[in-house]
């Protein structure tokens, strides 16, 4: 069940100078989950989406809204 890669999330994380492990720790998941979200292999819950947005200081639209 592979989806589209989330390159915006990866860019936002790198801009914040966080590794996948750092972000995973901040939002309470494993590093692999962050890797899978970025690779489009996992569809996160809304709660995790908002936690990621808060940790990266961005909005849901910035990372997850598709036009």
């Amino acid at each position: 069940m592979e989806g589209k890669k989330n390159l915006r999330m990866r860019a936002a994380r790198v801009a914040k100078d966080l590794s996948q492990a750092d972000l995973a720790r901040a939002v309470g998941v494993t590093r692999q989950t962050i890797g899978l979200i970025e690779a489009g292999g996992y569809n996160p819950t809304l709660k995790l989406c908002t936690d990621i947005c808060k940790a990266l200081d961005v909005t849901l639209n910035d990372l997850f809204w598709e036009d």
Binding site: E2, G28, T30, T33, L36, Y42, P44, T45, K47
Partner: protein, 188 residues
């Protein structure tokens, strides 16, 4: 005291990953459905067995306790098999747990040793209490052979603890292999 222990445990194992928890829920939901159906079949089988035994006077030469034992053994075996099936589904997906050790690349010796120890303690408690409860019903409180029960339970629990640790190591290897294969497919 319990709250402190719980918070220490949580700090040690880390948060539960929602992705892994969702998979675990799916596996246990399927296992629960299977157990429910199997329990229903077993209950009907036990009812018919008892009914037949009563009608054919089998009760006289086949004591009632045997009629309870047969379904109990089946229950024990298929519950064990269901647990094994759930574990295999979990490791096939690449997980060994649902916390920070879920997808670890190095074998967490201390954590699994702790889990094996806790399994042995839980098994010891289960064996001791169930055997004591059975003896209490049959021979009464005063005649419960505590020393015999405890020594047998201690031996079997130690065996279960060691076997659990070995099983966890094998499951860890299997999970790591599955995970690497899956990640390889995604990258490829």
């Amino acid at each position: 005291m319990i709250t402190t222990l719980k918070s220490k445990w949580r700090a040690y194992v880390g948060p539960t990953d929602e992705r892994i928890k969702a998979h675990e829920n799916e596996v246990f939901a399927r296992m629960g459905k299977f157990l429910m159906i199997a329990n229903l079949c077993l209950a009907y089988y036990a009812l018919h067995l008892e009914g037949l035994a009563t009608r054919t006077n089998l009760m006289n030469d086949w004591p009632r306790v045997s009629l309870v034992l047969i379904p109990s053994m089946v229950l024990l075996v298929y519950t064990g098999l269901s647990g094994a099936w759930a574990c295999s589904r979990f490791t096939k997906a690449g997980y060994v747990d649902r916390n920070r050790f879920a997808e670890t690349e190095t074998f967490p010796r201390a954590y699994f040793a702790l889990l094996a120890l806790l399994s042995a303690i839980a098994f010891f408690a289960l064996l001791t209490l169930s055997e004591a409860a059975a003896e209490f019903q049959v021979v009464g409180w005063e005649k419960i052979a505590w020393a015999d029960i405890a020594s047998t339970a201690a031996f079997l629990s130690a065996f279960v603890g060691v076997m659990s640790y070995i099983a966890m190591y094998l499951e860890y290897l299997k999970a790591r292999r599955s995970r690497r294969a899956r990640l390889g497919e995604m990258e490829g």
